[in-house]
């Protein structure tokens, strides 16, 4: 049997009389609207100023800020130590 044979079998031909019924338009519209709302929400979340974007900004800036503050602190400690020892 070839692939196409299965579709021309008499029983399969009888299935072609089955009507393609239209789903309830109101229900179809509700589903589409709900899906669009979900897609819009996902787009909003992925856009600039969104939570993931804020997380990315924080990931890149936070280490630099902390590193800078540590450098200032160490420089101050070193400067005071040198002052104490009369340099």
């Amino acid at each position: 049997m070839t692939t196409d044979d299965s579709r021309v079998h008499p029983s399969m031909g009888e299935l072609s009389v089955l009507t393609v019924h239209a789903p309830d338009p109101a229900h179809a519209a509700r589903i589409a609207a709900r899906c669009h709302a979900v897609m819009a929400r996902r787009r909003r979340l992925a856009g600039p100023g969104s939570a993931p974007a804020r997380a990315t900004w924080r990931r890149s800036l936070e280490p630099a800020l902390v590193g800078g503050l540590c450098a200032v602190y160490l420089f101050e400690v070193l400067a005071r130590a040198l002052t104490l020892y009369g340099f």
Binding site: R7, L15, L18, T19, V20, C35
Partner: protein, 195 residues
């Protein structure tokens, strides 16, 4: 749907394009509804499962593989949702053999006689189809009504091509019996299960 068009739609779905969703929705909504309604034999269940199928597409849209076949993907989701629903509700597959009243009245026909004959034939086929187990119905609907290739139907059902061929052959024989044929065309069936 042309393969090129399908690939373009998949690419746009991956980008979250709502117009691409609308195009896919327009192409498959009625087909999925008919598939689910005939599989579940209940309009309310079909509508719920249909909604969940589309929400799954929206949820997974950005993660679709670039070469995804949308039809088989959607039918796979719909089918899996139906079996999940079945498992949760423990629906008895042997009941509800009659399908009279499932569908609203058919579309207008050229003459009252033709209308009556067409409706009678369709009702007969619907009733025969509804009397089959879900496993038979799904393969007949996927290949016979939805026009999927047996290989695609095999993917949807998660079986090998050979298994699908055997299931299809058995399902057709049972449909033939349900339609009132006294013998399920044994010569053809014997030939069909032979590779």
């Amino acid at each position: 749907m042309e393969r090129e068009t399908e690939l373009a739609l998949v690419r746009r779905l991956r980008e979250g394009d709502p117009d691409a969703f609308d195009a896919v929705y327009g192409e498959y909504h009625a087909r999925l509804y008919n598939f689910l309604a005939r599989l579940s034999r209940r309009r309310d269940v079909a509508e719920d499962l249909l909604e969940e199928t589309w929400l799954r597409l929206v949820a997974s849209g950005t993660r679709l593989q670039a070469d995804t076949r949308l039809g088989p993907w959607l039918y796979t989701v719909a089918r899996n949702l139906f079996y999940s629903y079945n498992r949760s509700r423990q629906i008895d597959d042997s009941c509800a053999a009659g399908l009279i009243g499932l569908w609203p009245a058919g579309t207008r026909q050229p003459s009252p006689f033709e209308e009556a004959a067409a409706r009678e034939l369709e009702r007969h086929v619907e009733r025969a189809l509804a009397s089959l187990p879900a496993r038979d119905r799904e393969v007949l609907l996927l290949v016979g009504a939805e026009g999927l290739a047996p290989a695609e139907a095999a993917t949807v059902c998660g079986v090998t091509a050979e298994t699908m061929r055997q299931r299809l052959s058995r399902a057709r024989a049972r449909l033939g019996l349900a339609l009132g044929r006294t013998t399920p065309e044994p010569v053809m069936l014997a030939r069909e299960v032979t590779p």
